[in-house]
Symmetry: C2
């Protein structure tokens, strides 16, 4: 028997990603986002939702571009910091001593020290209520050499991304492999 918990944004897993953008003065900024996910395979797209009140919102509107930088679990304090302060009055890259790298594909910066990044141009903007969803076409994925496997693809156990848990608002790591998709279900 299930207990009703009400109308809440309560589901797992949700991601912990840093959305990178340039403000009107060209200063690099980033903000932590968990209301996000892949939304299309072709063209490859990722969606991220921002409140209008955020400083990044105006930057994405103006620049029509953003990056997503995926922090590793040992960077959890840095990742959280990007959600604690606003870029209106804080230069977050300077405060964290992280390095903003200008994308050569879109008008937005990514975090050099985070192992996996996506460079995106805005394709759609959807007003939903408190949040506005930005759908970005993924123009490139870039990864540190150290997180690649023998086939040259990222290994999630080397990237070690952070899982956000809504409700109790805790961060978690990724655990052990549970098997291959499109395969383990054949035993049913």
């Amino acid at each position: 028997m299930k207990r009703s918990l009400g109308a809440k944004t309560l589901i797992y897993p949700t991601p912990t990603w840093i959305v990178g953008s340039y403000d009107k003065q060209g200063r690099p900024n980033g903000m932590t986002a968990a209301w996000a996910g892949i939304c299309c395979s072709d063209p490859p797209c990722v969606a991220v939702s921002l409140r209008k009140a955020t400083y990044s919102y105006g930057s994405l509107i103006n620049r029509q571009a953003f990056t997503i930088s995926v922090p590793s679990q040992d960077q959890v304090k840095l990742a959280d910091y990007f959600g604690l302060v606003t870029g209106r009055d804080t230069e977050k890259f300077a405060a964290t001593r992280l390095t903003p790298v200008r994308s050569d594909l879109v008008d937005a910066p990514y975090v050099a020290e985070f192992p996996l990044v996506l460079e995106c141009k805005v394709l759609h903007i959807l007003e939903l209520g408190l949040h506005t969803q930005f759908v970005g076409e993924i123009l490139d994925v870039k990864a540190d050499e150290e997180v690649l496997d023998e086939a040259g693809m990222p290994d999630i156990l080397k990237v070690l991304p952070i899982v956000f848990s809504p409700g109790n608002r805790l961060y978690y790591g990724v655990g052990a492999s549970l098997g291959h998709a499109f395969a383990v279900g054949k035993e049913i």
Copy 2:
């Protein structure tokens, strides 16, 4: 130095959720989805993307409703099965011996045996390309008593949701806590 991997849907974590719906004959169906995420806090909304070719696509269009059932890691084979076969010619609930429960809030069924479920009515439909994104308003979250903590909220380490890794297409569990959001970053 980062290596360019091309325009791919390659990022972590992505979820492993079962989208539940009724077909034209009223038969319960479900499909595995990873291109999904929370997209608004108020109204609480979740987005899930389906290819038009899926059998579920027509059901969501017709019923304007869906559920999301979150499988636990020991249910990974069942979760994968829902992505291996089509509801056009297979009654997946019967094949898995899982129980479809009719939502009393929306015109869609959820999986009784999965620990956490969301009941959603379709608010927006966005054509993106290969995938169509359905934004659903979350009308209720329901959870098994066994996965609730002392405060009556779900505990992710009791739900034990499945993380999907695009690229190598492997499933993973959730690991240890990395600390509190909106808190650990204050040390920066």
